[in-house]
């Protein structure tokens, strides 16, 4: 316990020291409170600004540090439009540099608030500058390099080979030894007696068993059943790809988006409500968030590359654009027609019913078998969602079914007829 508190003490002491140094350094510029500034910065500024990086607006670290005229900075923060309107040369320069897109006017910020923000930005920038060399080599992100399938396969091969070699070598050694003994004559006979007794016994047992018709019959039956059931299962599962999880060009984590962030499925797969295709989102949907969020991730940079997007200039170069080739997981054959809107919008099914717990999948795999049996089972068991849908209101068939006390399932409404899906 003592040692613990000692370590803590030392730690806190050094922390205080560093902090006080930092504050001293700051106070040379402005008398703002960096802590208050941080809170303000996070609520007001982060939509468009970052300290070390240009986003929609400039990277504030360098800009605010190099600008020494605090009064001007405060004026700009509070009401940049006024400065532009007054044709302030500095203000106009920035305004033009950023394609004349106006920054929000923050009339609710007092001078002190603005000063606090400035203080925070400068302090944070400084810590970033000093922290950089300590943080180690930038960009050396740990590469997650689990053993690939090929490696595992190779290893297994090597092991199997090794076993085979050992077995063969053992045999060879045995043969050689026997040959050696043969030459010596005597020992061989002794050996022979010993060896001969056991095989005779064994053979006898085998012969007995073979002669036992019941046993043979039993073995054959077992074999046939085993083989039969194996081929039955194999044949049924031909081209059924449950669990299919190909490696996608971008490691898109559904667990993060749909699970942690709780983004609605249809934010990205907007076709599911309107069309037969749920559709993979076009990249402009990704950019709605990722223009700002996680811009440093190499996976996100794949999106930028695909779009020909330059993070520095924030411009799109369509000549460099090339589409992302996702690998399709859920493949229905061409002769089966499936319409998402029928199931999602009309029947009100949850995406998870067929696609499984996507919100927990790091990478998506095929959850359902997507066989016709699976479709039909669901059509037979699921009641039609007629609530509030005037489409079903005056259907005699529906009323008849209800009168008879039967379920109004999709199948009862003709949902398992060939032509409903095959045309």
């Amino acid at each position: 316990m003592r040692s613990f508190s000692l370590i803590l003490k030392q730690f806190s002491r050094s922390f205080v020291l560093v902090a006080s140094f930092a504050i001293c350094g700051l106070s040379a510029y402005a008398q703002g409170d960096a802590a208050k500034g941080e809170a303000l910065f996070k609520t007001k500024c982060t939509t468009c600004h970052k300290i070390d990086q240009r986003v929609i607006g400039p990277a504030l670290g360098t800009v605010v540090t190099s600008e020494t005229d605090d009064k001007w900075l405060i004026k700009w923060i509070e009401n940049n439009q006024a400065l532009i309107a007054a044709k302030d040369p500095k203000a106009l320069k920035i305004y033009n540099e950023y394609n004349q897109s106006a920054m929000t006017v923050f009339g609710d910020l007092s001078d002190a608030d603005a000063a606090n923000i400035i203080a925070y930005v400068r302090a944070d920038w400084k810590t970033m500058q000093t922290a950089k060399p300590v943080a180690g080599a930038p960009g050396a992100a740990p590469v997650e390099s689990g053993p690939s399938d090929l490696v595992i396969f190779g290893l297994i091969c090597v092991i199997v080979l090794a076993f085979v070699i050992i077995l063969v070598l053992n045999r060879v050694i045995g043969t050689l030894e026997r040959l050696l003994l043969k030459r010596q004559g005597l020992e061989l006979e002794e050996e022979e007696v010993e060896v001969a007794v056991v095989p005779v016994d064994r053979l006898l047992l085998a012969k007995k068993l073979i002669k036992n018709k019941k046993f043979v019959f039993f073995v054959i039956i077992c074999g046939t059943i085993a083989m039969g059931s194996w081929s039955w299962v194999t044949l049924w599962n031909t081209n059924v790809h449950t669990g299919y999880q190909p490696v996608q060009p971008i490691k898109f984590p559904h667990d993060m988006h749909a699970g942690v962030m709780k983004i609605d499925c249809q934010y990205c797969h907007s076709g599911a409500y309107k069309s037969k295709n749920a559709s993979i989102p076009s990249l402009n949907v990704c950019m709605n968030c990722h223009k700002m969020v996680k811009t440093e991730s190499p996976e996100i940079h794949k999106i930028y590359d695909a779009l020909g997007y330059d993070t520095q200039t924030q411009k799109y170069d369509t000549t460099k654009a090339r589409p992302i080739q996702w690998i399709r997981i859920h493949n229905l054959p061409d002769f089966a027609y499936f319409n998402h809107s029928q199931h999602v919008k009309v029947a009100g099914l949850k995406c998870q019913t067929c696609h499984g717990p996507v919100q927990t999948m790091k990478e998506v795999y095929q959850y359902s078998p997507l066989t016709m049996k699976w479709c039909i089972q669901c059509h037979k068991r699921t009641d039609v969602n007629m609530k509030g849908n005037a489409y079903y209101e005056n259907m005699i068939q529906v009323h008849d079914l209800i009168k008879q006390g039967k379920h109004v399932t999709a199948a009862a409404m003709g949902g398992i007829e060939c032509g409903k899906c095959h045309y």
Binding site: S279, I327, R328, V346, Q397, C418, G419, Y423
Partner: protein
């Protein structure tokens, strides 16, 4: 009561040719050679067992290996930035224009896949022709030019512009003539661009040139009323229509619009009001219009003029000098009666004439004036802009070139090297021209003679507008980015004439903002957007002026009579040739379209060829046989064509279709048929469509790919018709009594209680409205991804069309006497006087379907919505169903037409797959298919209603054939909805079901054909 009349599809059926009878015993032309295999070369061989085991072993091995392949990895590639209006999987529709008709273009993920009529189109009310339906396929034609061409080499547009502008500037300073030759331009903006071009180059002149010309009518109206226009004919206002060789339902001026007008007085609605127009057709060859006529009188082309003179005399009461009687007794008798009828219907009569002769048309004007047709059935004030070609101007232009006066020619949508009667003269004359430029998007016959080709956009890639009726303006908007490096011709003209506006879209906008939007009460950006949605603006019709014919007719009559005697064929082996256009190919501009080439001609049922149609009597007389190839020679130009025996063809005439025999249209159209345009001639200031031909046998024999003998009903009675007189007495005459036949016990069929289900999808087809034009056949091909099989496969009876139009002939009989006995037929044999019924035939979706009971794998089963489903993935190709179908509407896929190099040219090139409807499976080899009643549309319609939380409304769902039908002959809907159109139609007294005596309970009801014949034959 069944009709006793005997109907037959062709002479082979009528005569019971042994070959025909033998062939029709089988559903498929070529039986499986089982016996051959079993007896001769097959199992009885020396070592059949070993071979069998080898084959078996190899087969099993091969199959196992083939099955071992990895499952293919499918890619899914989303948009980078998705256009806002596109949802993958949902079609977008854009309004545009095809040949002056407002249309809707269906696009999926940015590519046009189908053309549909705009239901609000003023002219055809949503109907479209086969050509319009097929036009979408041409967009993906890989034979279109991919770059501008300068002296035979691909170049950039900058190089083209530099060259052309240089040349034009030099020619301008040289003061020599510039000629812009186009087929009739009716787009206001294009006309404005051309005017601007001419302003920049004052020596330029615009010449309208139509391969099939209407100059005769335009000039006649100029002579008669000082109005050089093509009138707007109103067949809907006519109680009696008399046509002299005008195929107004098939090819004449604006056939789709005329069809829509024509059936208004003949369809179910009109009949229920006890009203039906009368239509009398005088013609030589059997035209589509002729097949629909109540009375059809045969005349030779040379008799047409004399007949008109006689008709005029009868109507006016005067006698024109030099009048002679017609030698044709039948026609002469008929004319007297027709004149009486016309006079009786004064003010509601219409006489039209297909001739392009000015004198004949002047006489027709005189007749129409006497009948008071102007301002009622003929509108000269809201005239038609469809054709404005001037034949004399074009002939003059050719001689100008020959004289070396012309230094620049620009061809816009014109191909005179192919379709001018003297194509070689064009070739020679063009050599003397310095700048020869074509805007064609194919390297066609004329473009190949040019030193510059500036390929034009296809209309689906273009901006523009159109106006085929004065006061009706439609918009053309692009539905896809240009597929190749082409540029719109108008834009090229703007650039070359240094116009202030360089961009044709801006030019069109300006033109509409300034001149046209206001006509529809629109203005500004909002007005423009409204226009793009509605597709057209329409100005209220101008009031009709009074037009009375007052010109002197003696000279006209003289010209006509002189010409008649000159064009009369006399002597051995001489016949009169009548040239016509087929409904599918028309003037040959779309010859490279496989859908059109494979569409059976509505009358002859021939695909992929033109032919010499002759009267059966003539064929006998000249000792010819069907399909014998004859040489037809007119003034030194001769072509060899197979003979087709055409009932109803005037004796002493041959009919030959133009539009065939292209040599540079592309791999599909090249070498299909022979070019008959050189049989045209320039007489009396216009191109004439008849000639005197000498013919001789070649000894060859070519079997035409004709579908008329396929899928025969084997003499079963499937057509019912009545006369208008009978109909008035008893509306249910001839329709038989529905379901009076033997009812079989429901051994196989469970009682579906279909009337308690929400839907029972059925169809009603009005035989009296259907003109047989074939638009539905092409529409169905486009909607349902129906493959093209080609000439050879059609010969083997393997065409794939899901809907066909059966054309039945029957003899015109004496009143009340029915001709049913075989002997009577053989004694009568009056093959000149036949009448025709068209019957669209498609899967009848029988409630007790014979196909369903014989399928061993249950691939075809009945649905609770009254449809006969076909699951392709289940079908194993036994073809039992097709053999058991009494309607013969099932089609078997003999090949993978979409992916088989033997069917090159048609569907397997790199772009054609883009036209496929993604909602319909393409069928594999070895699978049966048939009409599904556009189940994809039914499902989509129901889904839309479910999403919008409302019941399905009648008219929500339209099937493809119904949608395109200009005659509205097909009504589709839900029989369980008592208020639906189809329920009402099926309740009409005229409804009958084909082969209802079999108790298969078909889902398609036909309405009896009514012929308004009584008066003339009395």
């Amino acid at each position: 009561m069944d009709s006793n009349k005997k109907y037959w599809k062709g002479l082979e059926e009528l005569n019971n040719d042994p070959e025909f009878v033998e062939k029709n015993k089988h559903e498929f032309a070529e039986p499986i050679p089982i016996e051959e295999v079993l007896s001769g070369a097959g199992l009885m061989n020396k070592t059949p067992r070993r071979d069998f085991l080898k084959a078996l072993g190899f087969g099993v091995g091969a199959v196992t290996l083939a099955a071992c392949q990895k499952v293919p990895v499918h890619k899914s590639i989303p948009y980078l930035i998705k256009p806002e209006e596109i949802t993958p999987g949902v079609a977008n529709y854009y309004s545009s224009t095809y040949d002056g008709h407002a249309i809707l273009v269906k696009t999926r993920e940015g590519r046009p896949i189908k053309v549909e009529g705009n239901p609000n189109d003023l002219l055809s009310k949503g109907g479209l022709s086969a050509q319009a339906q097929a036009s979408v396929l041409d967009l993906y034609d890989v034979n279109r030019l991919k770059n501008p061409v300068l002296n035979g080499a691909d170049v950039t547009w900058n190089e083209t512009d530099a060259f052309v502008k240089n040349e034009l500037a030099a020619i301008k300073t040289g003061g020599k003539k510039i000629r812009l030759v186009s087929s009739s331009v009716h787009s206001p903006s294009t006309l404005a661009v051309i005017a601007d071009f001419i302003a920049q180059y004052p020596t330029a002149k615009h010449i309208n040139y139509d391969a099939v010309s209407y100059t005769g009518i335009i000039q006649a109206n100029k002579n008669s009323f000082d109005k050089a226009v093509l009138p707007h004919y109103r067949f809907d206002k006519a109680d009696i229509i008399v046509s002299f060789g005008a195929d107004f339902l098939g090819t004449w001026i604006s056939p789709v619009e005329f069809t829509s007008q024509y059936v208004q007085n003949r369809n179910n609605k009109s009949l229920q009001n006890k009203k039906m127009s009368r239509h009398i057709q005088f013609e030589s060859g059997m035209s589509l219009t002729g097949t629909n006529a109540d009375v059809r009188i045969l005349i030779k082309p040379s008799e047409e003029g004399v007949a008109l003179v006689n008709l005029y005399n009868q109507i006016s009461g005067a006698t024109l000098p030099g009048t002679k009687k017609l030698n044709n007794v039948n026609a002469d008798k008929a004319l007297t009666l027709v004149a009486k009828e016309l006079l009786a219907a004064k003010g509601k009569a219409l006489v039209v004439c297909g001739s392009n002769d000015v004198a004949a048309q002047v006489l027709v004007n005189a007749i129409n004036s006497l009948l008071g047709s102007y301002a009622s059935t003929i509108d000269l004030d809201n005239y038609s802009n469809q054709y404005s070609g001037n034949d004399a101007e074009f002939v003059e232009f050719v001689s100008e070139m020959n004289r070396g006066e012309v230094d620049a020619v620009l061809f816009l949508n014109a191909n005179p090297a192919y379709d001018y009667h003297n194509g070689s003269a064009i070739k020679d004359a063009l050599k003397k021209v310095r700048l020869r430029l074509s805007f064609s998007d194919h390297n066609d016959e004329t473009a190949s003679l040019c030193n510059v080709i500036a390929p034009n956009h296809y209309y689906l890639e273009s901006w523009g507008d159109d106006s085929i009726i004065e006061g009706y303006y439609t918009i053309v908007q692009p539905t896809i980015n240009p597929v190749y490096n082409t540029r719109q011709a108008e834009q090229s003209l703007l650039i070359w004439s240094d116009n202030a506006v360089k961009d044709y879209y801006t030019y069109v906008r300006n033109n509409w903002d300034k001149n046209l939007l206001a006509k529809g009460g629109l203005s500004g950006q909002k007005g423009w957007e409204t226009l793009l949605q509605t597709g057209f603006v329409n100005v209220a019709d101008k009031a009709n002026g009074t037009y009375t014919f007052t010109r002197e007719l003696n000279g006209v009559a003289q010209t006509i009579l002189n010409q008649s005697s000159q064009s009369e064929a006399s002597g051995d082996n001489k016949l009169e040739v009548q040239l016509y256009q087929t409904v599918a190919i028309r003037d040959g501009k779309r010859a490279n379209n496989p859908w059109l080439q494979e569409m059976p001609d509505p009358v002859s049922k021939v695909t992929w060829d033109n032919f010499a149609a002759m009267s059966p009597a003539d064929i006998k007389k000249f000792n010819l046989a069907q399909f014998d190839v004859i040489n037809i020679d007119v003034n030194g130009y001769s072509i060899a064509l197979p003979v087709l025996s055409q009932p109803g063809q005037a004796q002493g005439t041959i009919s030959v279709a133009v539009g065939y025999g292209r040599t540079m249209s592309g791999p599909v159209g090249d070498g299909v048929g022979k070019n008959a345009f050189p049989f045209h001639s320039f007489r009396n200031g216009t191109f004439q469509t008849s000639a005197i031909a000498t013919f001789s046998k070649t000894g060859d024999n070519v079997i035409l790919a004709q579908t008329q003998t396929h899928h025969s009903f084997e003499g079963r009675n499937v057509i019912r018709e009545t006369t208008f007189k009978e109909f008035l007495k008893d509306p249910s005459s001839s329709s038989g009594d529905e379901r009076k036949h033997k009812k079989y016990d429901d051994l196989f069929w469970q009682d579906y209680e279909i009337e308690k289900k929400p839907y029972n999808w059925v169809m009603a087809i009005d035989l009296n409205a259907c003109t047989g034009c074939g638009a539905c056949v092409v529409a169905c091909s486009a909607e349902n991804n129906i493959p093209v099989v080609g000439r050879d496969e059609v010969r083997r009876r393997r065409e794939m069309h899901w809907i066909r139009i059966d054309r039945y002939y029957s003899f015109n009989n004496e009143e009340g006497k029915s001709i049913s006995e075989e002997q009577e037929i053989s004694t009568l044999k009056d093959l000149d006087h036949v009448s025709v019924v068209h019957q669209p035939m498609l899967c009848q979706h029988c409630d007790h379907a014979p196909c369903e009971t014989v399928c061993p794998v249950l691939a075809t089963v009945h649905s609770s919505e009254g449809l006969n489903h076909m699951a392709y993935n289940r079908c194993i190709g036994t073809r039992y169903c097709a053999n058991n179908c009494p309607y013969k509407v099932r089609r078997f896929n003999w090949f993978n037409y979409w992916n088989d190099s033997r069917f090159d040219n048609y569907l397997i090139n790199e772009h054609t797959h883009l036209v496929l409807n993604p909602d319909v499976t393409t069928r594999f080899r070895g699978v049966m298919e048939k009409c599904s009643m556009c189940i994809q549309r039914i499902q989509a319609g129901k889904l839309k209603a479910k999403i919008e939380k409302r019941p399905v409304k009648d008219g929500d769902i339209k099937v493809a054939c119904q949608q395109t039908c200009p005659a509205n002959a097909i009504v589709f809907g839900n029989r369980n909805d008592p208020d639906s159109e189809v329920s009402k139609a099926l309740k009409s007294e005229r409804t009958y079901y084909v082969l209802e005596e079999l108790d298969v309970q078909p889902g398609i009801g036909y309405q009896v054909k009514v012929r308004n014949t009584a008066e003339l034959e009395a």
